[in-house]
Symmetry: C2
Subunit: 450 residues, 2 copies
């Protein structure tokens, strides 16, 4: 006997089970850059059966009369009262406010009152996604968040729908455009502080840039991706982060000698019941897709047991690209398109990666330093792969670099603690993981099958 599938024709039309009109009613929480872009896309695309009916924002009247509101239909009710939205007959709530509080409470109420939720809120989904998904399931509504990671790049739907047949074992991604912008600029020779100041002055990095440069934004996204692709639920607070703020121009020069560049990489790798996870600046081989990413582009590489490396790349942020992800989610909910669901399990995080490491020391040069440092590394069993010392630096403040063969992060950190105590060491050593490329899918067989 065959599967009874709802007819495509019926699926193609958004449906209402009850209500005064035949349209799906939509409320927008937040009318900032993304919110106004969502209104603009909806107005331009004119999807039949979807009606924007409410917009919630502080200073609703000021927003309503702003140029950004030009594409909002006159029929829309602008409100500063969340209760008005929650009490309404809206079918789908689009949340673009961000943060945990008070949004979490609002969305719980929306879900329990039978409204589906589309959100781009990465912190909320990273910390409370599993709980909110359970509430949604209990109330026969949907919670979707394709816009929470990589903006307009369809990483979440692509992995949920297109890679669910594989067993994804590793994720590597560039999911924070601000860091990628800063590091791309530094690659061309600029200093960190200068680029950051420029970015802040132009208004596209926050006055307090910590969420971006220290990795907390990327960490939330990595945890969401781990749930989707590795079927692993991680506690975001247990994923170690490393700031990009200690990377200097000299590190890009050394990276280039190693045929690498430096990017803020978010990485998670399944290893039995644990997940190796980390966010921070890493050396990336120029031959890796991760190194292709410039400016504010986002990129995620999923490595599957069967399918090898799959790359998703594009505009990870910005009003219009993020609105594409939001509106795509909205259409999916309106047309009742579920994605494949596979069991997700809570997993412990380990910060240890077996990888080559890049160590940059700044020393007051005197005889015996290389011997002392290499001795400390030998003591923990870390093999040196290369020693690099570029000319042109003063002997009393000499940056030089050691790269190691693959060894555990914890092993390297142990050696660095003893090295940091040496008199000749002028500042805390910089330790960056070096990303390795090992896509195993076989090219010869790949051609055969074409």
């Amino acid at each position: 006997m065959a599967l009874k599938k709802v007819s495509k024709k019926k699926v193609a039309q958004p449906r209402k089970t009850a209500g005064t009109s035949s349209s799906i009613k939509v409320a927008l929480l937040g009318f900032g850059t993304v919110g106004s872009a969502v209104a603009r896309v909806l107005s331009a695309r004119k999807f039949s059966g979807i009606e924007l009916t409410h917009i919630f924002n502080r200073n609703a009247e000021r927003k309503r009369t702003s140029p950004a509101a030009r594409s909002v239909p006159d029929s829309v009710l602008w409100t500063e009262s969340i209760e008005e939205i929650l009490r309404s007959d809206v079918d789908i709530v689009i949340e673009l406010m961000g943060g945990l509080n008070p949004v979490e409470g609002w969305l719980r109420k929306a879900l329990t009152s039978g409204k589906s939720v589309v959100t781009a809120n990465k912190q909320l989904i990273a910390y409370r996604g599993a709980k909110l998904a359970r509430i949604a399931a209990q109330h026969n509504v949907q919670l979707v968040y394709g816009a929470a990671v990589a903006g307009g790049v369809p990483v979440i739907p692509g992995m949920l729908q297109g890679l669910c047949g594989d067993q994804i074992t590793r994720l590597s991604g560039i999911v924070n455009g601000t860091c990628n912008f800063i590091l791309s600029r530094m690659e061309s020779g600029a200093a960190y502080a200068t680029v950051l100041a420029d970015a802040q002055h132009a208004g596209y990095a926050e006055a307090d840039p910590s969420a971006d440069v220290d990795g907390y934004d990327a960490r939330a996204k990595l945890c969401i991706l781990s749930r989707i692709a590795l079927h692993a639920e991680l506690d975001p607070d247990t994923v170690p982060t490393q700031s990009i703020s200690t990377v200097e121009a000299i590190d890009f020069a050394y990276a280039k000698e190693l045929s690498c560049t430096i990017r803020q990489v978010s990485q998670a790798e399944l290893d039995g019941r644990t997940v190796h996870a980390r966010v921070g600046p890493m050396l990336v081989p120029l031959s890796s897709p991760i190194a292709w990413s410039h400016g504010t582009q986002n990129m995620v590489v999923a490595t599957g047991r069967f399918g090898g490396d799959t790359v998703f790349s594009g505009h990870g942020a910005g009003g219009d690209p993020t609105a594409v992800a939001v509106v795509s989610d909205l259409l999916a909910v309106a047309q009742r398109c579920a994605t494949v669901q596979l069991p997700v399990r809570k997993r412990k995080v380990t910060s240890d990666f077996l990888a080559p490491h890049y160590l940059r020391f700044v020393v007051d040069d005197k005889p015996g330093i290389v011997s002392a440092i290499s001795g400390a590394l030998a003591k923990v069993g870390a093999n040196i792969d290369s020693i690099l010392q570029r000319p042109g630096h003063p002997k009393h403040r000499l940056p030089f670099v050691v790269t190691t063969e693959p060894c555990l992060t914890s092993t390297i950190e142990q050696a660095l603690r003893s090295i940091a105590r040496m008199d000749c060491i002028l500042e805390p050593p910089l330790c960056l993981q070096m990303l390795t490329v090992d896509d195993k899918a076989d090219d010869v067989e790949a051609v055969k099958e074409e």
Copy 2:
């Protein structure tokens, strides 16, 4: 009143409406490289509620006892009779035979008898996809074909689900791994005939390589992508193709001088009620994502009105990657996951692209040739952008290159017809379109929103 959505918990379990067991029963048509990989992935992943029950193949007994069948459960019924499959209580038929006949008739029967179909058959879907989708809808079953384009790269689900909110206006892709392999090798200096012979000797290009090198394989895939992304139904036979077989090593040398490489590109661009479409070797700027693709990798770039360029890349072919796409589709059908449906319209194809063109002439050099050729181009209104002549070639057989500013393909072809008649022209001129990069999404705004 809220949308009534089937509970997630229920959606998560494949369901049967009737039958002797609670599992979804699956038949495999074709047990070649991809078919055996599908069996291997199913065996390794052990998805609950999905049971492989039938395998159809000629010489079923030989297949059954082959090493490739090791991962096939003993309970599977091997058969050489398609009728046995069609009469059975199988819920989902996975078709991996390829070609239009007799497969089209079999799948029609499967759909009309209430079986959903998962297929990787690009020719069938390009030529008969719309018709088969209507039959599927009439019988409340699903027809999915995520594996028909770019193998394991989730281009189809990613665009269907993640970019449906955008308005995709342009597709550029590398969707034939064999051509990409040949052109990548030629980039390193090898001659076309040598690389093709090597590939044939190694068994990964066909004895008759026409479907790949002449672009018919890529054309079918481009038509499928046009339906998915541009919502435009094209007649594959109206999409012009150009063979890669006339590209020579010298063209890569000239391309390099122009900061380009050469790839077989499949391109479709929406222009009101027509679609500019073409498959053939093109000059690709090294700065374009299309140029990143090496070896047998596939890559598709979708350009959206709102989201800018989105890139999908990975292993476009091969048993295991293609099996990932097939099994992902299988899970989607088993869990009744529909994708967003938007209206698709029949569109006329035009082969005209407004683009810069690369023209390579082989001439018996004498005074006045450049003047004659540039005169012929001027006559049709095509402006010359550059003239390149590399040293080291005999004057009596001199290759030289002219690039034009953007002009219509038809204009260039008109000029080439008159140039080809000149006495000094020793072989038909090679005319390649030059791909331009114009991703309009704004980086500054992108960072702001991060």
